[in-house]
Symmetry: D2
Subunit: 347 residues, 4 copies
């Protein structure tokens, strides 16, 4: 069976990546491609790498244009999904790449985004415990943020433990992550110019609390069964794509590196996209760029009493569009890996 | 039907890219992966982006190990293919990514490579006139160089003309091209270190005549039906992959931009991987990185009396491994595009 | 003696580089720093690398604010210098980094820039024959473009020859050059975003004739004593700074590589900033980034009958601000190299 | 007065940067430039950016060649300085850029470097409390590592406090830092090739304890007056130069952001090279590349109960050669900033 899919935000990076993956998906036919300011243009002018779709014409993002498809991908600015989703019927699978439907706490949403909370949808990270089941057959999916995806996959086994409770302590998790510039989208801001980005690194959104913090804490707390608290610092690296997250947590009393490794191995053994690397081999974002894969390595720093976990992903693929397609497959009852057999492009 | 394929040079960039594409090919099963100094290691240690192949063990590159496959890809240093190819039977399709079997002129081979010429094999660039037919059913294929691929595709329609002879003059073609660092391979040379490559550009192999010059002239002369002479300057750009070639040739008397555009449009109209861009849109290597596609744009510089053609490719994909797989498909009688539906990874 | 200098366009890349160099100049005191949309802001917010000037406040670019200095640097959009220069007295040295006063031909100016020609000022490239003398004591200086600087220095000795006329032919010079992204300024355009620029190369302004063409031809024709005609293709490289120009010209009958080398050596022997590299060593932009130096290498391609010259510069230093300060030194009667002893920052 | 200086390791990145700075130093004359495998070569072939020194010939690194200078810079592999320093007289100022003489603990040295401890020299980080006095007139200087420089400057004011003890807690400091590729030196290792480095990030030396850990803990403990314990994860970023360090520590009870900011402002108020940025402005490595400056910003993350400090430096300048020259100035009784007026090269 073939499903039709519409993609909004088709002129941006997230929308472009959804289209790149759907073009490779054997059971999806791409329908409307919509955007706002570039409506009326050839897709090839804005996404010239999508050769088979070059002559498609972008239409305006309206409920009318998106209606009538089996699946609708929303890649809109935060806060814009609620209204348009409401206008799409329940028989349409709506997949929202924005933050609008990720948070369970309306208070947290309002504090960080300043608008009315639009409700919570099943969270599109199948590798979290119980999540695959929640996504099966769902008509609505909230695609996780790229940072949360990378960090939650990096820390979940440590918090899930191996039957005897978390292997790390829930307070005082410290995370520093680097993202490629596409993580900031296609917005025309001076600090995102190539001349500024190339050859240097800088932090952003430090102190105070980053918008992704409640989403990460929500996910970790759910896995740990207790409230987890993080310090999170994102940085901007001179590369187009990729996230490298360094996550450290205090060891629970008695946790050994062998236990930790065993928990990760067991947790990800059957996962098609998440890989605990062999000892001595560390994740690098280039291993996964362009693919839906995530690589992980861990170490126990006995000197500091901390577990150190490094995880790498492509922010646009597993971190956004790939995670969305993977969740779509589950929701539609397809093989979870369909259309996601792309490997990283390296070097 | 499924064919088995062995890949030598599996630890290098060309071999790695062949494996990336074959892993995505529905009618190929990957057999032996061989190399020399890294024999005995896990493939995942050397090509960590090839997740499904991570636990394969690299074996030594010998005729014994390569024998018994339907297809053998040779990605060896120049000069090393002849002997090993000779040891493989005629019922094995041998695809050589090195230069050894590209040149028709034994004298040119010996002048540029200093060893004995090993003969000429069908040239794996199906988009050249008559070439697709020569590749069909062939048991031996010489994969073109990455520069020649990009430049020949850029200039062929101008020299082929539109029935009334070449639209440009064969003397005094001037070509300047930039390649990403993977074009120089994985060799440990100081000028290829990241610290040296990032943030700067430099030429290499200037003056005298570059090794790719006879291959480019051979291809253009064949298309033009007369001897073509080029000046070729390659440069090294701070990027991992991609070639951008700027090729200029004097206009034949009376040639107009419209004629030229018409010739290109006709030449590439039915080609699945080569695209003349719409007027006003120029090739960028990022449009094609990771894919088998090539983009082309042209202009007539009336002031200088020259046609200027810019072509972009991925040196490892269409420029090496993708071109090799495309030719393999033709040789095996498969659909030419099989396994090559990957789109460029952008941004 | 110490001169006061005002710098307009202080929020942009050219203005920032002028300030970086003046901060290092022992005989200049920086006065007003002006801009337009960022007037009122701390300079440190816009040019955070200029630590000693961080607390300066940017004022509006007006003739009033610029008046009363010994030297005024104009780094304004093309077309905006004429009016403001006219309002500054003749006892002020006005140095224009825009194109407004470079071209001798009013017709060429109007064809390429579409506004009224504002006259021609002494051209700030002291290494061209006779130019050093024209700059001495001048009250007005037109700073050359970054491409013309790099290309003219690369080709001038070949056209100047060694007493017996040009060593190369004036028709059919072919030039392909790559620039870093700062060459496009700080303008907020999608193709200049870091995500777009990093990892790829693209041409721009191809065909038709680039705005720099008449400036390059004017300079070469003046050196050659006959009309020189070029084909010029600029490309954008994934680096913040630097220009690498590959310039080729047909050899005049009988020209040998030894003659050519001798002409370059003689031409640049006494020049403090332009260096013919030893045989076998090629220019790389990283050798000169952050400095006022230019490196050059040449070769005779006998096969193609062409001289190939590669020249490298920093587009913002020798290509803009450094050339401007060097010319200022000459105009003020200072030692030409004052304040320009900075070496390239490499790697 | 002018001092003569010899520079060993002149073919490497650290040695090259020392030479770049000394060439700009008004009171230093460069004497012998030495190295090992490149002895006999022109310096211009190995450090082509050092134009005024291009024709110097590299001599062998021996005590004989280094003797007879007022100052000797050692930029040798770790473990090689001791012997050569012993052979240089006490009237020679010896400045060691390697780790050999940094650690006070012989046990720590032997655990991390596996050779015999050669003693402890005054530590060349004048901005630490009391350190400027120790360096004045010293005949031996141990240049701090680039990570320790950046991190110690980032955290010192928090641990020094403002008269009432540390503002942060000494246990459980967590540091994640990114360095440019030159931090790994010019060694020919596959993972340092441009093709591997560009476009991606990766960690290195994770878990276990990094060699820089004891040096950082030694410095912090000295400032805090109590033992400080860190978790340190270094990562490799796709840029040639620069370090961005994110350092977080638990707040001491009652510490406010205002107190912390006040402590930093007071600590660095008179420092010429270390800058607490205005609120809202964050460090970026590009602000300081090529300069001896360090920029710092801090925030109190009340949610996590941690101070977050970000500091940026150029690993080769303030992190190595600039710090060395600054300390040399103090040891020789020169103005501390002499020869270090270079500003960052940005963009």
């Amino acid at each position: 069976m073939v499903y039709t899919a519409a993609v909004s935000g088709a002129s941006g990076y997230a929308g472009g990546e959804v289209l790149r993956l759907l073009a490779n998906h054997p059971q999806v036919e791409i329908g409307q491609v919509t955007a706002h300011s570039s409506a009326g243009e050839r897709l090839g002018a804005l996404q010239p790498h999508l050769h088979p779709l070059a002559d498609r014409v972008i239409t305006e993002t309206t409920a009318e244009n998106l209606a009538g498809h089996d699946v609708v991908f929303l890649a809109l600015p935060h806060g814009a999904s609620g209204e348009i989703a409401a206008a799409l019927g329940e028989d349409t699978l709506v997949i929202d790449a924005a933050a609008d439907h990720r948070l369970e706490s309306a208070a947290a949403w309002e504090a960080f985004y300043g608008s009315e909370h639009q409700g919570t949808w099943p969270y599109g990270l199948p590798e979290l415990p119980g999540q695959r089941e929640r996504l099966a057959g769902s008509g609505r999916i909230a695609v996780p943020g790229c940072y949360p995806t990378t960090i939650l996959l990096g820390l979940a086994p440590a918090f899930a433990g191996a039957g005897e409770g978390p292997l790390v302590q829930p307070q005082d998790v410290v995370i520093v992550a680097a993202t490629g510039a596409s993580g900031a989208g296609k917005s025309l801001k001076p600090h995102l110019l190539g001349s500024e980005v190339m050859g240097g690194m800088s932090p952003y959104g430090v102190g105070g609390v980053h918008r992704h913090t409640p989403e990460i804490e929500q996910g970790l707390s759910s896995v740990a069964g207790t409230e987890v608290q993080i310090s999170f610092t994102p940085t901007l690296a001179p590369m187009p794509r990729g996230i490298l997250a360094t996550s450290t947590a205090k060891l629970a009393p008695g946790t050994t590196e062998a236990q930790l490794r065993q928990a990760y191995a067991a947790h990800y053994d059957a996962e098609p996209f998440v890989h605990l690397l062999p000892e001595g081999q560390w994740p690098a974002t280039k291993q996964v760029v362009g693919s839906n894969h995530v690589t992980i390595q861990l170490a126990v720093d006995e000197h500091a009493g901390r577990a150190v976990v490094v995880s790498a992903s492509d922010n646009l693929t597993k971190g956004t569009a790939g995670g969305a397609v993977q969740s779509m497959n589950l929701a539609l009852g397809l093989e979870e890996t369909t259309g996601l057999d792309l490997l990283g492009v390296s070097p």
